[in-house]
């Protein structure tokens, strides 16, 4: 039995000496594995005198129990030394970026605005980009000789430029025509927005584009005093700038509204105190608006004596430029990923 005691001590010493889970596993196999020490001891049992066998068997089982206990304890102790990471793993390495895409900045603003206007129960509407003069000008109370009808201003289509009205077609110079389409197919009261791209024949530079984005809204109801338009103005500016922005209505002229308004917002760069951005004025012109001209209502099949309304006509490029501090309007149509990838 002296012998067995020595074996036990040696085994425990081996367990204690194991300094990693791997070496402990080796020790475990050597002690209690199928071909290990315990196995060998059990084999020797058969050659022991029969009278001793029982006691000896119990002793070996005890030995096995003691070793198992010791191994378990040693394993627990070793857990804290186990690392799932490579040696000296560098925590300052940059994270692996997820595959990234993104919407065009104008689309982002359009979707934000759609959400805001839907929350006010406005529908979203979309009209054709090639329009006839009828919807681009006639229905909108533009004089027959209005300069915007010239090919110097509007992109007329080849083969149709010399025709008139419904037969003269162009890339739409503004969105407002779409509102008449909507009026013709829906009965008031109406609340809708219609985002889209419009086209003007211009020379381009950092602040002028031939193709640009607008966002318009129209509300028509029995009673819409001018001041009601403020809800729409605020919806636009709070969505884009993320906070309330002071605005003011002042007189302006646009053929499709009567009266016409220019809507100014406080200059956010200087909080209205006056700076280079606002030319020391404290205010920036951001959008026109106003109640539909009676002729526009009539063109849309709506009785101007029964219904009132308010239009808002937002130039999205300019708002986006202010919001994102973009200094060249042509970037929106550049398809340049160095520009686009900056917008999340």
């Amino acid at each position: 039995m002296q012998n067995l005691e020595e074996i036990r001590k040696r085994g425990l010493a081996d367990v204690a000496a194991a300094d990693s889970p791997e070496s402990l596993q080796e020790v475990r196999s050597a002690l209690i594995g199928r071909k290990g020490e315990i196995g060998r001891l059990f084999k020797q049992l058969s050659s022991a005198p029969p009278a001793d066998r029982k006691a000896l068997g119990q002793a070996v089982n005890q030995l096995k129990g003691a070793w198992e206990e010791a191994i378990l304890q040693r394993h627990e102790a070793l857990l804290d030394s186990i690392s799932v990471l490579p040696d000296a793993f560098d925590l300052t390495r940059p994270g692996t970026p997820p595959a990234s895409g993104g919407l065009h900045p104008i689309t982002q603003i359009v979707y934000d605005l759609n959400d805001a206007f839907r929350s006010l129960s406005f529908e979203v509407f979309d009209g054709p980009e090639i329009s006839s003069e009828l919807f681009a000008f006639d229905h909108l109370n533009f004089r027959a000789d209005h300069p915007a009808r010239d090919s110097m201003d509007t992109y007329w289509l080849r083969g149709y430029a010399d025709k008139r009205g419904a037969e003269r077609i162009c890339l739409r110079p503004h969105l407002t025509g779409a509102s008449v389409r909507y009026m013709l197919t829906h009965s008031p009261p109406l609340r809708f927005v219609y985002p889209g791209r419009v086209y003007r024949n211009e020379s381009t530079d950092a602040s002028h584009e031939r193709a640009f984005f607008q966002y318009e809204a129209l509300i028509v109801d029995k009673r819409v005093p001018f001041s009601a338009g403020k809800v729409m103005v605020d919806a636009v500016l709070e969505t884009v700038f993320g906070r309330h922005v002071r605005t003011r209505l002042r007189t302006g002229f646009f053929p499709f509204v009567e009266p016409g308004f220019e809507i100014d917002m406080e200059c956010l760069n200087c909080a209205g105190r006056g700076c280079a951005v606002c030319k020391q004025d404290g205010w920036l012109e951001v959008m026109p608006g106003g109640p539909p001209h009676p002729n526009v209502f009539r063109a849309g099949g709506i009785d101007p004596d029964q219904w009132e309304g308010f239009y808002l006509n937002v130039g999205l490029d300019r708002l986006a430029m202010m919001r994102f501090e973009i200094n060249d309007v042509r970037l929106f149509h550049s398809a340049d990923l160095r520009f686009l990838s900056q917008f999340k």
Partner: protein, 810 residues
């Protein structure tokens, strides 16, 4: 347009202490946008009028003088000066230390300081006109001359120069764009009238015109009264040549109109005062009666700009009995223009119809202050005031001049409209509660004649607002609103009846698609122009059926029939900076010129469906193609729409490789295309060292599902097993066929997936190795080892029967 507040005081006396910044604000809010307020006296600060008391040569320089100036009070100022036109007793402009001047030789504004010039102290600077920016008002005979103030009356030593020359004045710079619809505001009187209304000040009565009795041999005929609504000709004799009086020149210079000679200045003065252009003909060069007529076809006319224009019948001219002598409302002719010695003129003050002037002006590309005003549509009654003011200034300046003839041809006077409305209507639209008296008072302040009967208003529009500007009750709402101040209106939130929620499935689908592509699809959304450069159309093998009459560039005339050409452009331009990227765009395309789509109101338009196109750019066309295909296959489930199918294409498109394109289908219908861009197309589009997979689908034909359509399928009760096979097959074997065969090989096979395809060593040429995974299971029991063995054998057996198969390994 520049408006002088001093000039305005001819028409209205504004309240004492009213600050120019306040005027700027109030005019901007109520009438027109004032862009800037410029105080003209600021640039002349610390510049005074002084008299040369004494002058002596500089002890140390033959070209310089030491000048002793009387600068007011008992003060004398010694200044060293190099001017050549100095004399004792002369009145000069003296810039004292602290004044800002513009030195002759560049350098920009400089502040005058006390200094010493070659040992002699100099305590200021005697200025030349250009040094004070006043060369238009005091044209120097020589660059080295100082300004001579001799012609000014009532000079006083030490008084500010600004006060002496009328520059204690403030200029309002008005945005011309905001004047478009207000032709009555194109001169000082118009702005004065608005200010009088805003500040409740009385307007000064205008001078009246006393026409001479005699016709003076003048006869005027108007061919078409629609284009020339009124024409007055006044014959004036005994004029003397020479410059305008100082006060007139000063006013012109302050609004940046250079003085020329008295007659020209006077016509400009009338225009800037009242907004009414006029023109003077030299009577000696005019032959016989005046006719306002259409130009003869091909008629030539040399204008004052010394350019000869060839006219067409649509152009309106003033003609004498021999030829055209002026282009109506735009510019006078050279042959009849006044000269330095002209002493007898015919003065034209007329009214020409707006659109005709605009057409001719823009066609010939001649824009003048006159044409700019006529284009806005002027009030023909304004001519009376213009005649009166012209005569008043003329006869005050040259008492010996005499009007010896006058003709007023006014074939069709306009009856200004009377508008009927109610106080209630105005209040309702404004959301205000003005009394009847308040409404009437506001309209009257603006010059409207108002008669009121228990809330019912009959409003007589004054002639100057009857140019198309005011004709409706809504116009009167605006007049009251802007005068009351829109800022003062109380806020009324609109009241909305909620009847149903908003459901716009197609619109929502488009957004889900874009967000899916920009999110899980990891693509960047781009936008590009709808007009395409020919190069990319050619690369895509397309012809645009629709084009523009005035295209942005000669090689960019066509509108995109598909998004492919612009996607090729976007790929090519981004390849300069990136090797691998994914982009998409959604835009309308214009594939046909047939005007087939009937819209409301009889409008026929070409079809303009919204398309989606995506490009995957990188090195391996096959991998990119499969990634694009994967996106299309997943799209239906991801965005809740009817799933898309893909099938071989019987009519290949030229931009994709013939063996590398698939039709995207919705049911039986073709809705788009997926292809690996061909080498030829890439070369034509300038896409180098890259591979591109492109897809385009017609968004308008996709079908959104009415709601989320996913159905739960029970999780299997019994465990399922996977069985991987590595099959070596001829490269021609198609996965679709192999999939069908393996799927039907044994009833326990639930699904078959392609894990990997491999070609190359050790797989022999002409073969490919496919790693295929079959999912095996039963809904009734747990499978045993022998079941798996049986299925594996069945799979291999079926593959061997159908294909030339080598089983490579387990």
């Amino acid at each position: 347009m520049r408006i002088s507040l001093e000039w305005i005081s001819d028409y209205v006396k504004l309240p004492q202490g009213l600050k120019p910044e306040q005027i700027k604000y109030d005019l901007t809010m109520s009438t027109v946008e004032v862009e800037q307020v410029v105080d003209l006296s600021r640039q002349l600060r610390k510049v005074v009028t002084a008299r040369v008391k004494d002058l002596r040569p500089h002890p140390d320089s033959p070209k310089l003088w030491v000048v002793v100036c009387d600068a007011g009070g008992k003060k004398t100022v010694e200044v060293v000066c190099g001017a050549e036109n100095l004399s004792k007793g002369q009145w000069v402009a003296l810039a004292l230390p602290g004044a800002t001047v513009l030195p002759r030789h560049g350098k920009g504004p400089t502040v005058v300081e006390e200094s010493a010039v070659r040992g002699v102290g100099s305590h200021g600077m005697i200025c030349g006109a250009s040094e004070l920016g006043l060369e238009k008002l005091f044209p120097p005979a020589d660059e080295m001359h100082i300004m001579d103030l001799e012609e000014l009356a009532e000079l006083e030593a030490g008084r500010s120069l600004a006060a002496a020359i009328g520059f204690e004045d403030v200029i309002l710079e008005i945005d011309n764009k905001s004047l478009t619809n207000r032709p009555d505001l194109l001169g000082h009187r118009g702005i004065g009238r608005e200010l009088a209304a805003i500040y409740k000040c009385p307007l000064e009565p205008p001078p009246t015109f006393q026409p001479p009795r005699r016709a003076g041999g003048l006869a005027v005929s108007i061919e078409n009264p629609a284009r020339c609504r009124r024409y007055t000709a006044t014959r004036i004799e005994s004029l003397s040549a020479g410059p305008s009086p100082f006060w007139l020149r000063s006013r012109l210079v302050r609004v940046e109109q250079g003085p020329i000679n008295f007659l020209v200045d006077l016509t400009n003065y009338i225009m800037l005062s009242l907004g009414q252009p006029s023109h003077a003909f030299d009577i000696d060069q005019l032959h016989g009666t005046i006719e306002i007529r259409q130009a003869r076809k091909g008629e030539k006319l040399e204008l004052l700009d010394e350019t000869t224009y060839e006219l067409a019948e649509e152009d309106l001219v003033i003609a004498d009995e021999e030829s055209a002598v002026a282009l109506a409302g735009i510019m006078g002719g050279r042959s009849t223009s006044i000269r330095d010695d002209t002493d007898e003129i015919v003065l034209e003050i007329a009214n020409f119809e707006a659109s005709g002037v605009r057409r001719t002006s823009s066609k010939l590309n001649v824009t003048t202050d006159s044409s700019m005003r006529f284009e806005k549509g002027l009030d023909p009654v304004l001519i009376d005031d213009a005649l009166a003011l012209f005569c008043k200034v003329l006869f005050e300046t040259q008492p010996e001049a005499e009007a010896t003839g006058f003709v007023d041809n006014f074939p069709a006077p306009i009856e200004p409209p009377a508008v009927k409305t109610t106080v209630e209507f105005i209040n309702r639209r404004l959301g205000a509660q003005h009394s009847e008296a308040e409404v009437c008072a506001m309209l009257e302040r603006l010059g409207f004649g108002v008669s009121c009967d228990r809330g019912h208003l009959t409003v007589q529009v004054p002639s100057w607002r009857a140019t198309g500007d005011v004709s409706l009750p809504e116009d009167l709402v605006e007049e009251v609103g802007r005068l009351y101040g829109y800022e003062n209106l109380e806020f009324f939130p609109p009241v909305v009846k909620l009847e149903r929620s908003i459901r716009q499935p197609r619109l929502s689908l488009e957004r889900r698609i874009r967000e899916y592509l920009a999110g899980p699809g990891s693509m960047r959304e781009i936008v590009s122009y709808p007009w395409v450069e020919e190069r990319y159309l050619e690369a895509a093998g397309m012809n645009p059926p629709l084009g523009l009459t005035s295209p942005p560039a000669p090689d960019t005339q066509g509108l995109q029939p598909s998004l492919i050409p612009q996607m090729l452009w976007a790929v090519a331009s981004n390849l300069r900076f990136f090797q691998e990227f994914r982009i998409f765009q959604v835009a309308r395309v214009f594939p046909s010129s047939a005007l087939t789509v009937l819209h409301e109101g009889g409008e026929k338009l070409p079809p303009q469906p919204k398309h989606l196109s995506a490009a995957l750019v990188g090195k391996d066309a096959d991998r990119l193609f499969l990634e694009a295909k994967g996106i299309l296959e997943a799209l239906g489930r991801e965005v809740q729409m009817e799933p898309l199918g893909l099938s071989g294409e019987p009519e290949p498109v030229s931009w994709a490789e013939p063996a590398g394109q698939l039709t995207v289908r919705l049911g039986e219908e073709s809705v788009g295309r997926l292809g690996a861009v061909s080498a030829r197309t890439m070369r034509l589009a300038g896409i180098r060292r890259s591979a591109v997979a492109l897809l385009e689908i017609d968004l308008t034909r996709l079908q959104p599902l009415p709601s989320r359509e996913n159905r739960y399928q029970a999780i299997p009760r019994f465990p399922q097993n996977e069985c991987d096979l590595s099959l070596v097959l001829p490269v021609e074997v198609r996965w679709a066929d192999l999939h069908d065969v393996l799927g039907g090989a044994h009833p326990l096979v639930l699904a078959v997936q392609l894990i990997e395809e491999y070609r190359g060593d050790p797989v022999p040429a002409g073969k490919k190795s496919l790693l295929v995974r079959a999912t095996i299971g039963s809904s009734e029991r747990t499978l045993e080892g022998k079941d798996l063995e049986e299925v594996r054998e069945a799979l291999v057996k079926r593959a061997e029967e159908e294909f030339e198969l080598t089983l490579r390994s387990l």
